[in-house]
Structures are given as structure tokens and as C-alpha cells.
């Protein structure tokens, strides 16, 4: 029989519990209340959001589709007013009364606000939810912020704002930072690292009063009379389980809502999970035990046997550049001994607390690579008598033989978080693998691990290797797609050696398994054929992604964005007027300057594209190819024209380069930058190809990126003249065009073939000139403005083929 389940609170614990229920195919009808006007997201990732490393969208764990697919009735932005346990109903704020078979409390916790005078002023906030995060994100270099609290949360808030250039002061009442997790020495190193980031840290500082002006916070007054001016005051001094509703309903409540090992409260129809819970006297703030509770609660509802067991916990600080780890108990006590390793020069500190030859606690700072192994020693209560003299140096020094690099991953506990974006623990991944997910793609599909930002891909592969043992094959060369067994490289070789000059020839000679390929292989083949046979092959628009087929970027609502070319970032009042006129005429909702110094007209209707292009063409502008796997922009600084530091005419060189390279198709998008001096105002050192002008000439670097990966260029060659620079870059582009796999940026390709190999080709004058000549040949065909061509000859395809609105009205 279908169970009616009501969940109060959409936090990480309740979200995970629902996942377990649905994954088990439970016959349930769920209503989810949340006081915040949104669904479940990964709250521990708010720090990366604050620091700008992630966006809110990236930390959402369950989206509207997920709720819909699982039939969850969402009541977001609504509180529950009361619970009637006798009638087994809850009453919503608006008076709705809903019956339940099982009720789950996931009410989380409230931030604790110190009742200082002035704590209710405008601009005094906690660090708890997205609204708080957004307020902090609104701070900039012109603002001052005071953070009260030098614990995990306070420091993450301070570091996140400092990364945005905000003037931040941390006020901490204790003698050193994070005193619950760190000893004094590690606290000192952490403080030093934070001060290096520009954060002011005041320890042993007692707050006395929050001063305001017109109802808004103005400064924090300490009891020694110091006044710390601030525009925002963040109080991050701790959390208290949110038990108000449970207490009103008459449930047994202590610090938190009392639960037994099955997560059942004093009422057998009501469960509780997460930060609102008290289990055997303990309350919980870290994510791993919350997830364990969620699983147990789901099993309890399903009628399965399960019991929640408290485990050793570890802490890491999510502050870039502060590597810090702490686990277990490291307080001084009778019979405890310390082993300490200190290397102030490297900023490394390690401390093990040992009792009866068993490690009971550890604090590590500066180098935490072995933290998983040490945590394993604590958890498994390993007897370290045999390795006592070397244990502090970590697993690499045990037993003489080099340790398997996988040992660290093997040593991770099941509840160690592998994928931070989606909150996936090692155990979940291992279960998926044991359930048949044999490779990375399958693990991703089943668990979502490494599916978001991808930085944990290596870790997931190691978990695969550890779990599968000999069955694990590191992913080798992958076929292009399901249509063929051949790799990109195989097919490129076939196209060149067998002189295959049409897509049909490739399908025939390479034994394609499908009639006419798919959306993965066709764009790749179309590119390879264009790159290798510019004169003979005829471009196939139907094998291009829509952006390239219609020469504009498709947006989420099906409209397009249009970017005219501005050579080297230079424009004129006339061009700006023409752009403004076009924006008015075609109701462009958003006009934006791009990162590549061009103007983006966003939200153009598909049918209007040919006419807006015709207008822009008339004003002398051509397509900026902002949609293409081809040359996009050459970003420049002002060079010698206006800058007192510029050594060469970087703007002029940028324009020449863009005029030489525009219109060329490449394996992936290609962005260039030219900076007039090493101050690098054009950010040329994170472009695919970057030029830095110096007094003696031009430094050309390749392989930069600032997207999914952020990378600095590596120096390819130094040349003396502009002419040489242009030839080198044409040759470099052609080498990339002829050899790289479709959708590999230069840096990825460079990692495969090696910078030395590229340098040898470019340094050899004969080879360089031959490459540049082949590039020029291709440009005779492909350097043309697609807008002019489409606006004049192909405008019809942008319109509906028929209009039945009139017929249907009859």
C-alpha cells in the first residue's frame, strides 16, 4: 500500500533519504516542505560558490525534473505550522492539513547569533543559506567586512570574500584559530596563511557591541575599545539544532531531536535525520554521518533492518591554498604521547597523538596527501609498534618497498566524499561498480560522480582500479562514437593515406556501422575533410552543430546571439551606432561585452538573423565567428599607442593576426591574445596562442586556457619581428589543424604530442613556411563572411517552410 510521507526540510540529509527511497522503488507518496524557497542543494559547497569557484546551479543536487519524475509534491517557501501526532497530520502555514503515515524531520539547524547589543541591525548576518552567500558575494574591494568566529565556517566565509578583494577581519575569541580541530602550532600556520591572503586575524578578541548608523551596521566594538568599521558583519560562531517544531509536537528533545539507532524519534511514526538530530548524546554537523543517517532512515521506512553507528570523523578546510586536515581526538591526556613533524620552511606540520601504540588523533597542515592513510590508522585502531619510528613520514616510508599509489585510495573509508559537487561517497561508487558499472561512463551514469565539474575524475578512476583489481583497464583509445570502432586518429590517418574526400567515402572505407553517422562523428568528419582537402571537399552544413550551421549561438530559449567582429578589439563610433541601431530594430533584450572584447547581442529571434546580419554587414561588419570551432578573437591591450609601458604595437599586431586568421576552421575554438608588455593586460598567457611583446621582440606561447581547465601558456618560440610572428602563428595554427583530434583544444593536443615535437616543426624554417603556405591556401576558400552569404542567398531557410496558422483558424 502506498505510504504517505511528509518531509519537513529540504537539506542534504533529507534529500539523500528520498534518493534512497526512490532508488529502492519504494511505494511512497512524498510531500516536501522547505522554508527556503528552493529544493535540495549541497550546502557544504556554498563556500566554493562564495569564492567564485562554483555557481549555485552547480551545487543543486535535485532539480525540478527530479522531483517531478519521482512524484514529489514540493511546497518550497512554506513552513509547517504544527504537527498533530494523535491525528497523524501536519498543518501548513496556509492552513492545509495533510495526513501522513511517516513523517521525517530534516529541519537542520539554526545559526547561533551572539546576543550582542546591535545584533539585530541591518547587515548583520549568519553564514547559513544562499541568501547569506549572495549578500557576501555582493561585497567588493570597496567594502569592509568583519567575521566573528575563527572556526571552519567563519574562515571559509572570510577566505571566500578575501578572494573577491574584500577587506576582511576575522575576530576570534580563543587563542588560536579552529581550536576544536587544530592544536596551537597548526593554528599558527593557518593564521599565517590567511594573513598572507590579506585577511586580518584578531585572536583573543572579545566583541562588546555592534555599532550602527540609521539602523545599519557600521562597526564592531571590542572590549579593549578597538573599533572595526564594516559594511557587513558575519556571525559564524556555531549552530544549534532546530528543534522548535519537534518540541511543540511533544517529541523527546535534548540538544537535538532524540532518535534511536533506526533514526526513529520518541514517536514511532516520526523519524529525524541530519543536523536537527541528537543520537547517543552527539549532534552532527559534517556531511558523512548525515548521509549514513539518511540511508538508515530510508531503510527503516522500507522495513529493512539497519542501524546508525557513529564513526570517527575528519575535517578538511575548503580554502584554496590552506591544506588542512584533522581527525580523531588530540587533546592532552594521561598516557598519551605525541609524535610531531615540523618543517617551517615548507609550512608543513604533522602531529600524531598515540595511546597504547594506536593513533587516536592527527592534525596535518601544509601537506595532507597522506591524510586518508592516517585516518585509516585511527579508524582501524592499527597497532603501530612496528613502524613507530617512521609512521610520521607516511605510507611511502613503511616497509622499504615503494607503496602502491592506489593504497591511499584503498585506505579511504566508505564514507569518504569523492565527488564534492554531487556529494558522492566512495561507498556509493564501490556499490555501483560491484553492481556492474565497469567504467567511468557507467559510474557517472549510475552515481553522478565526476559528472559535474570533473575534477574528481582521477579519483573515481582509482576507485574503479581498486575495486575491479585485475579487471580494470585504464581507458585506452576510445572509438569516436558508437558508429565505428576506429579512433579519431585512425580515421584521420585513413582520410590522408587513402585520400578519402567525402563523408560517403569515409563511411564506406572505414566500415561505418550506421547509415549516416550521428551527431558525434559527423561534425568531426566534416572538420577533418575540410582541414585536409580544402579545395576538393564541399562543406556539409547538415553535419554542423546548429551554431555553425546558422552562424550564431543558440541560447537556452531557442533564440540566438550575434557577435560582429571587432578587429583586435578596436571599434568606431559608427560601428557602435550601427550595433545600437540593430539592437533597437530587432528588440535585442541583452547587449553584453564578451570576455574577448567583442559585443554580444543576445536573444535574437531565429527568423530575424538574416536581416540583422544584413544591417550589420551594411555598416561594414562581418561575423565574429563567436559560435565556431575556429578563430574567435584576438584580444589586445593598447600597446605603444597610449600606454607608457607598451614595448610594441600590440593592437596593430592583434588586428593583423585577426585579419590573417579569421574564418579558419580549427579542431576547437581558438582564442588569441597580444599583450604589449609583460604586465599582460590582454591576458595573453591564458589564451590558446598568446603573444607577449618585449623590447627585444615577441614571445609566442601556446596551450593556455581559461575555461574548464585554467592553464598558463608554455613558451613556443621567441621571434624578433611582427612578420615572423604572423608566420609562426599561421604555421602553428595549421599544425594544430592538421594533427589534433576534433574538440581537443591546443593544450590537450600538446599534452599528447609534446611541446618539443611542436617546437621542432615550427623552428624548422622549411617546415614552418610549408605549414603557413597550406594555411594560406585553405584561407583562399574559407576566409569569407558567412553572414553575407546567408543573408543574400539562404535567408529562406531561416523562415518557416509553411504557415498554417490561418488555415487552422478557419
Amino acid at each position: 500500500m502506498t505510504q504517505n510521507i511528509i518531509v519537513i526540510g529540504a537539506g542534504m540529509a533529507s534529500g539523500r533519504a528520498l534518493e534512497h527511497l526512490f532508488d529502492a522503488g519504494a511505494d511512497v507518496n512524498v510531500t516536501l516542505f522547505n522554508a527556503e524557497p528552493r529544493g535540495n542543494y549541497n550546502r557544504i559547497m556554498l563556500s566554493p560558490v562564495l569564492a567564485g569557484d562554483k555557481t549555485y546551479e552547480e551545487i543543486v543536487t535535485h532539480d525540478a525534473e527530479w522531483y517531478e519524475a519521482n512524484g514529489v509534491t514540493c511546497r518550497f517557501g512554506e513552513r509547517v505550522a504544527s504537527v498533530d501526532r494523535a491525528a497523524k497530520t501536519v498543518t501548513a502555514e496556509n492552513g492545509d492539513v495533510l495526513p501522513y503515515d511517516k513523517l521525517i524531520f530534516g529541519t537542520g539547524s539554526n545559526p547561533f547569533m551572539i546576543p550582542l547589543p546591535g545584533h539585530d541591525l541591518d547587515g548583520v548576518i549568519a553564514y547559513r543559506d544562499l541568501e547569506d552567500t549572495e549578500l557576501m558575494m555582493a561585497m567588493g574591494p570597496q567594502n569592509k567586512v568583519v567575521v566573528i568566529g575563527g572556526g571552519l565556517l567563519g574562515l571559509e566565509a572570510a577566505a571566500g570574500m578575501a578572494a573577491r578583494g574584500v577587506d576582511v577581519t576575522v575576530v576570534h575569541i580563543m587563542g588560536h584559530l579552529m581550536e576544536r580541530q587544530l592544536d596551537e602550532a597548526a593554528g599558527y600556520l593557518l593564521r599565517k596563511a590567511l594573513v598572507d591572503k590579506g585577511i586580518t586575524v584578531l585572536c583573543q578578541a572579545n566583541s562588546k557591541e555592534i555599532l550602527g548608523h540609521d539602523g545599519k551596521v557600521r562597526a564592531l566594538l571590542l572590549d579593549d575599545g578597538t573599533e572595526l568599521p564594516c559594511d557587513l558583519l558575519v556571525m559564524a560562531v556555531g549552530i544549534r539544532p532546530n528543534v522548535a517544531l519537534a518540541a511543540e509536537a511533544g517529541l523527546a528533545v535534548g540538544k537535538g531531536i532524540h532518535v534511536d539507532d533506526q533514526m526513529v524519534t520518541s514517536d514511532e511514526s516520526i523519524l529525524a535525520v541530519g543536523e536537527c538530530v541528537e543520537h547517543n548524546g552527539a549532534i552532527f554537523g559534517l556531511v558523512a554521518p548525515l548521509y549514513d543517517q539518511a540511508k538508515v532512515a530510508a531503510q527503516t521506512i522500507l522495513g529493512e533492518e539497519a542501524a546508525f553507528v557513529q564513526k570517527e570523523l575528519s575535517t578538511k578546510l575548503k580554502v584554496t591554498g590552506c591544506d588542512l586536515f584533522s581527525a580523531g581526538d588530540f587533546a592532552d591526556a594521561e598516557g598519551r604521547e605525541d609524535i610531531v613533524f615540523r618543517d617551517p620552511g615548507r609550512g608543513v606540520y604533522r602531529r600524531l597523538v598515540i595511546e597504547d601504540n594506536v593513533v587516536v588523533g592527527t592534525v596535518m597542515y601544509g601537506d595532507t596527501a597522506d591524510s586518508g592513510w592516517f585516518f585509516g590508522l585511527i579508524r582501524d585502531k592499527t597497532d603501530i609498534a612496528e613502524m613507530r619510528d617512521t609512521v610520521i613520514f607516511g605510507p611511502a616510508y613503511q616497509g622499504g618497498a615503494p607503496v602502491d599509489p592506489l593504497a591511499a585510495v584503498a585506505a579511504l573509508p566508505r564514507d569518504a566524499e569523492i565527488c564534492g559537487c554531487n556529494g558522492i561517497c566512495k561507498g556509493t561508487i564501490v556499490d555501483a561498480i560491484e553492481g556492474g558499472a565497469g567504467d567511468l561512463t557507467a559510474v557517472r551514469a549510475v552515481t553522478k560522480a565526476s559528472g559535474s565539474c570533473g575534477t574528481c575524475t582521477g579519483l573515481v578512476e582509482q576507485v574503479l582500479a581498486v575495486t575491479l583489481g585485475d579487471d580494470f583497464v585504464l581507458p585506452g583509445a576510445q572509438p569516436i562514437c558508437g558508429c565505428t570502432d576506429m579512433t579519431h586518429e585512425d580515421v584521420r590517418r585513413m582520410i590522408k593515406s587513402q585520400e578519402l574526400k567525402s563523408m560517403d567515402a569515409v563511411w564506406q572505407e572505414c566500415a561505418w556501422k550506421t547509415r549516416d553517422g550521428c551527431h558525434v562523428c559527423r561534425p568531426a568528419l566534416n572538420y577533418y575533410l575540410i582541414a585536409d582537402w580544402p579545395l576538393e571537399y564541399l562543406d556539409d552544413p547538415q553535419s554542423r552543430f546548429i551554431n555553425e550551421r546558422k552562424h550564431a549561438n543558440i541560447q537556452k530559449d531557442g533564440t540566438f546571439s550575434v557577435v560582429p567582429r571587432m578587429w583586435g578589439g578596436i571599434t568606431t563610433p559608427d560601428e557602435l551606432r550601427a550595433i545600437a541601431d540593430a539592437a533597437d530594430k530587432y528588440d535585442v533584450p541583452t547587449v553584453k561585452v564578451t570576455g574577448g572584447q567583442r559585443i554580444d547581442l543576445l536573444g535574437v529571434k531565429g527568423e530575424d538573423l538574416p536581416s540583422i546580419w544584413a544591417d550589420l554587414n551594411d555598416a561594414g561588419m562581418v561575423s565574429g565567428h563567436a559560435y565556431s570551432k575556429g578563430l574567435r578573437t584576438v584580444k589586445t591591450c593598447v600597446g605603444t599607442d597610449h600606454c607608457r609601458f607598451g614595448t610594441q604595437d600590440s593592437t596593430g599586431l592583434g588586428i593583423k593576426l585577426e585579419k590573417a586568421l579569421w574564418g579558419s576552421w580549427t579542431p576547437h575554438k581558438l582564442k588569441l591574445g597580444v599583450s604589449g608588455c609583460p604586465r599582460n593586460c590582454a591576458e595573453a598567457t591564458c589564451k590558446d596562442i598568446g603573444v607577449v611583446c618585449v623590447d627585444s621582440g615577441f614571445q609566442v606561447g601556446i596551450g593556455g586556457a581559461a575555461g574548464m581547465d585554467v592553464r598558463e601558456v608554455e613558451r613556443l618560440i621567441d621571434v624578433e619581428t611582427e612578420e615572423e610572428t604572423i608566420v609562426v602563428i599561421k604555421a602553428m595554427t595549421q599544425l594544430y589543424r592538421e594533427n589534433a583530434k576534433y574538440l581537443d583544444r591546443i593544450y590537450k593536443w600538446m599534452n599528447k604530442v609534446g611541446l618539443d615535437w611542436i617546437r621542432e616543426r615550427i623552428a624548422d624554417p622549411a617546415e614552418r613556411d610549408a605549414l603557413a603556405a597550406r594555411f594560406d591556401l585553405s584561407q583562399t576558400v574559407y576566409q569569407k563572411d558567412p553572414w553575407a552569404e546567408h543573408a543574400q542567398k539562404k535567408a529562406a531557410i531561416y523562415r518557416p517552410v509553411a504557415n498554417l496558422t490561418l488555415e487552422a483558424a478557419e
Binding site: Q542, R544, I554, L804, T805, E807, A808
Partner: protein, 111 residues
Amino acid sequence: MTDWIDIAALDDIPQRGARVVKTRQGCVAVFRTAADEVFALDNTCPHKQGPLAEGIVHGSAVTCPLHNWVISLETGLVQGNDEGQVATYPARVEGGRILLDTTFLQARTAA
């Protein structure tokens, strides 16, 4: 009862391509495969309402341009691990002209 009407020449749509037909209830995408079969479907991906007519047509399927969902032109069913279905309408080619059944088209209100 059917009511076939002529909407365009077959050659108005490129092979492995699509064009839209405007109707009172929104756009219908008419696809032409490499084998010159034609199919008519709602121009809306069940995932995030991507315009299917802008997708890459391969075999008798189309890939949505927004997030690469693959949809069968014959059944409207989403392929692979994703789930969903797009409404399909009778369409055929006769003497180089594309014909659609307008009774079906008119019935496609948000019933």
C-alpha cells in the same frame, strides 16, 4: 478522417535537415532524412524544450541542439537512458511534395 494538405516541395528541406511549420498551437518540425523520408514532430524536446528542427539529423533520429537528447523520428520516443516522447504527426511525400495531415495537426491542442 484525414485531410492531407500540401505544405512545401521536398527540396525546400535539405537532406538530413528540417524546417518548421507554424501552426496555431506552436511549431511542428518537418524532417527529411538521407533516404528522403519525411517525418513531422512537435518542435520541442521533452527535456528543456529545445528546438528539434535545429538538431543534427542522422539515420531516422534527431539530436536536440541543447543537450544532445536523441529522438526517434519514427516514434517520437527518446533514445538511450533518457525518457520521454515527442508527439508525431502523419506526413508523406507525393510527387515531390510534402503532405501533412491537418486533422491531426488541428487536434494537437493541449488536451
